[in-house]
Amino acid sequence: MHTSLSMRDRKQRWLTVGLCSVTVLLFLLSLSSGPVYLSPGKILALVLQGHDEPLRIVLFEIRLPRAMLAALVGATLGLSGAALQGLLLNPLAEPGVIGISGCAALGAVIVFYSGLGAFGIWLLPLGGMTGAFLAVVLLYGLAGRGSGTQTLILAGIAINSIAAALTSLALNLAESPFAAYDIFFWLMGSLADRSIEHVLLVLPFTLLGWVLLLSTTASLDALSLGEDTARSLGVSLLRVRRRMIIGTALAVGSAVSVCGMIGFVGLLVPHILRPLCGHRPGALLPVSALGGAGLMLSADLATRIPLGVGELKLGVVTALVGAPFFIHLVLQQRNAS
């Protein structure tokens, strides 16, 4: 008798294919939507021949960088949320909730205000990554792994409060009120007015972070059985933790320093996709990256809905969608207990 032992069921293959197609579609939609509508045929024509100069600028210098950043940052947030949840064995771990995004923003703000930014634009993501790195290390020291949800959330509140207080202090000390105004809007999270330079700035760090995070998938599966059992199976916890901390710092730190704080994506996406991956924390990682990219592209499209009051901030849109979802999670936990 031969029983099929395939660990990934067919459902999951379709999930990957489906998410890929949806993300590509949303990417194309993001290229065509805006004050000037560009049809797919028009986009193709613009790519092939560059006669219509103003429209080329719209496509290549405004919409393409924006869509690319949305996909990159969304994938980073989905991926790092799923990875942190697998490592900390807690479904509420997410870069925003546990303070990593806040510390990354603080790092970027410090670089901006100390005048270090004048030495090179790449110092901004460096500041973001340093902040994110310190936050993950601090969180790990405070909450440990597999500690209860309560400890994790408390640690997150503490880290978020420190980051928020220090960021406010930096805004207080700002020499010009306009700079403070800029920072305030940047903190709310946005993809507007980003150029291809921004994409190139975050791309190397983001890709390196992704590789590090994705290299832990098999170990995360084993970690579902608890740390002792995972270690007895040959998982090197030290190596998994190191990759996770550095990977999160690189990807989230650089993303936040370019796009500001965008919350809830890392919470929402893994939670929806987890049952579709047989609850395997490792298998959840790549699909969460795809789902995150898709969600971020949709949220960015929503910000372009003309409301007559200027553009909505991306962080505001994800929070408006994410916060009710968070409340839903709370109710679910309350009913379960």
Partner: protein, 270 residues
Amino acid sequence: MKLLTASAVSLRYGDTSILEGVSLDVSRGECIGLIGPNGAGKTSLLRLLAGLTLPTAGLISLTGIDESEGETQAGAGRVGYHAQSPEMHWPLPVKVIVALGRFPYAGSVDRLTPYDEQAVLNACRLMEIEHLLDRRSSTLSGGELARVHMARLLASEPTLILADEPVANLDPRHQTGILSALRRHAELSGATVVVLHDLALAARFCTRLVMMKDGRVLADGSPEAVLSTTRLEACFDVDESYRRYSGIQAVLTAADCHPASPPAEEDALS
């Protein structure tokens, strides 16, 4: 042939001494039962043997077990460890849990060779969980879950099995099923060290018993020799009024009459 030797091993956390100069060797073919009251240090000793904690003093060597290379745990796969009340953090499908037993060889449950799959299926057959392969762990009963974890352990095809109370909360039929599997493993493929609270089961399935109390080994030898009335009285604090009973009966009767006294042997009553 000796598989594992622990010589004069001690474990301390600050001022608290958990284990004091424990020596133990495990030879091929042995099914060793670790017995003793709660807090005797059985679990700590097993974790030391599994390489999960380092001893404060003393030495543990895995002889006759090839040590795997690289950064992984020494002997991963060759030494199988079953934790006391195994953790389950996500409701994984049963087949994934059992397949994780092949992690030391395959590196991932997505890359199982036909041999790996066969080992997984054999373990499932032995533990009678073939019909549960696609179920999620959160939908299983306590007994089913215990068998799933045991199948995970057996799927690793370890040489040495270290199992911490694998039959707690199981009905008699499945207690017998798991313990005979552990005994058979010792006879055919290596050795077993198992922590047990049920003295009758320990006497029935183990070839050798190690009796522990307060971090020390009180007795080490054949079940008949270790489970003598005097030793049991010393180990489980049975007072003189139970002298008319002998052996295990004295321990059980004493526990019966003092339900509030050390919550030692509630398992033995079931």
